[in-house]
């Protein structure tokens, strides 16, 4: 039956999308590579040689091979499920992003607000997992993680609303596809001067979302022993580390979707898009690395203040400019 066959093929295609490209495998490999680049470049900025770019892979596989100790105070179910939930929700996010002319696999299934909330799932998974481990250090860690989240959520919301207004005009839109189409027609949002503060704000949000210096208060290994991850070992820890890398990847992809979607490659969309994607992802990560290299860890209250004043201020500037049609 041809209908049956086409259904089967469709299902296979969906499975391929979800598990391989641009889903789980792509995000995982891309994320780990980006993390490796981050570590390498950071090392070079500090005049070190640094680890090989594939170092995160080694870390991941090593942790997979280690023993998983489940502490007596932990609740085993939640403790083990939390990292997987985070990983899966991150891997699904890539399905909704249209990147450089590649339309998203499932563009009509989610919009900007959904993305905003899907982004919280990995953080919540980390928090719940850390809390389930029963360590007081983890308690402090999740508290900080939550404060960081409270901090960056305000500017992030503002940036997203700015984009929605800029793209949609008087009808405003949250759909990612609309954003891509508008940018193809009117040029990338990054090159509209009123959006530049918002783009900077977004770039400043990425490190907090990913949890790198100077916004790594939640997992400060030197003061609270890696916070929520303190009791994690073996495979769950590996997946949490993978989550961090994938979050980096997703955030760079989101940056491209929001601010760099306007580069029209014409008929070279397949190869050119891929190359451009890699370049822009690396550049975005380089911004993050650069911030990492030149700063030390902030205190949590300073971090919160920073996000609610400086970054939110930047986003607000853009929002007001866009609001008045600039």
């Amino acid at each position: 039956m041809p209908e049956f066959v086409s259904n089967l093929l469709n299902i296979l295609l969906v499975a391929l999308h979800v598990l391989v490209f641009p889903g789980l495998l792509f995000a995982a490999v891309g994320g780990l590579l980006l993390a490796g680049i981050d570590r390498k470049v950071l090392a070079r900025m500090q005049r070190r040689v640094g680890p090989p770019i594939v170092q995160p892979f080694y870390d991941f596989f090593k942790l997979m091979g280690k023993e998983t100790i489940i502490p007596a105070a932990a609740r085993p179910g939640i403790y083990q499920a939390a990292p997987i939930i985070g990983m899966v929700s991150l891997s699904l996010m890539m399905l909704f992003f249209p990147i450089f002319g590649h339309s998203a696999a499932f563009a009509t299934k989610a919009d900007l607000i959904v993305i905003l909330y899907l982004l919280t799932i990995p953080a919540v998974a980390l928090i719940i997992g850390g809390s389930a481990s029963g360590s007081p250090f983890a308690g402090v860690g999740i508290s900080r993680e939550m404060v960081v989240m409270l901090g960056y959520e305000l500017p992030l919301v503002m940036v997203l609303l700015t984009v929605a207004k800029k793209v949609g005009g008087d009808t405003m839109t949250f759909a990612l596809e609309d954003i891509a189409v508008w940018q193809l027609a009117n040029g990338s949002l990054l090159f509209h001067w009123s959006m530049i503060p918002a783009a900077i704000a977004f770039l400043l949000i990425i490190p907090a979302e990913v949890g790198t210096q100077p916004f790594d208060v939640a997992e400060a290994e030197t003061e609270i022993c890696e916070g929520p991850l303190i009791e994690y070992s073996g495979a769950p820890l590996a997946i949490f580390k993978l989550n961090t890398a994938m979050k980096m990847f997703v955030m760079t992809a989101l940056f491209q979707v929001l601010f760099l979607g306007g580069i029209d490659l014409g008929k070279y969309w397949l190869l050119g898009g891929a190359v451009l994607f890699v370049i822009s992802a690396v550049l975005t990560v380089l911004c993050m690395t650069f911030i990492h290299a030149i700063t030390a860890r902030l205190k949590v209250e300073h971090l919160f203040k920073f996000y609610w004043t400086v970054v939110a201020g930047l986003a607000l500037v853009s929002l007001v400019l866009v609001w008045f049609g600039l």
């Binding site: 040689v49 170092q55 080694y58 991941f60 596989f61 090593k62 997979m64 023993e67 890696e226």
Partner: protein, 147 residues
């Protein structure tokens, strides 16, 4: 395939947990010196972990004072397998100049199996790198033995 990859990764990404059991800080400083741009052990994937749960190699410095003995043993228990124990300097191996004191419990062999001993008072960072590298190889063997 994954078995081999995992075993190989064991040597490439050993994370260190450092326990100071009453050391004079000489060895601790040298261990940190290994992480500086000059020696940069991160080249080989070495990283300082914040908790023993993440550690592959436990580095012990200091003459195991009786106050720190219980804490050290408890910490060593909490490290997931496979793991290695490395001693830096003379103190954990013998007690060094503190041996014979009522408050010193060295050597470490009394409490656990020591995989690599790095001698020196303090060892040069190069020696520490060498020792950690050796420990990483042992990790791989232990991982293979676990299978």
């Amino acid at each position: 395939m994954f078995k081999k990859l995992i075993a190989e990764s064991m040597t490439k990404s050993p994370w260190i947990y450092h326990v100071n059991t009453g050391s004079c800080n000489g060895c601790d400083i040298e261990l940190v010196a290994c992480l500086t741009p000059r020696y940069d052990v991160e080249r080989y994937g070495f990283k300082l972990a914040g908790t023993p749960r993440h550690a592959d190699i436990v580095v012990v410095s200091g003459p195991i004072t009786s106050q720190s003995k219980d804490r050290l043993i408890r910490t060593l228990e909490q490290v997931p397998n496979p793991h290695c124990v490395v001693t830096i300097g003379s103190c954990p191996q013998s007690g060094n100049v503190f041996k014979g004191s009522y408050s010193v419990e060295a050597p470490l062999e009394k409490f656990c199996e020591v995989d690599v001993a790095i001698a020196g008072c303090t060892p040069k960072p190069e020696a520490i790198i060498e020792g950690l590298y050796k420990a990483a190889q042992i990790l791989k063997k232990k991982r293979e033995a676990m299978q």
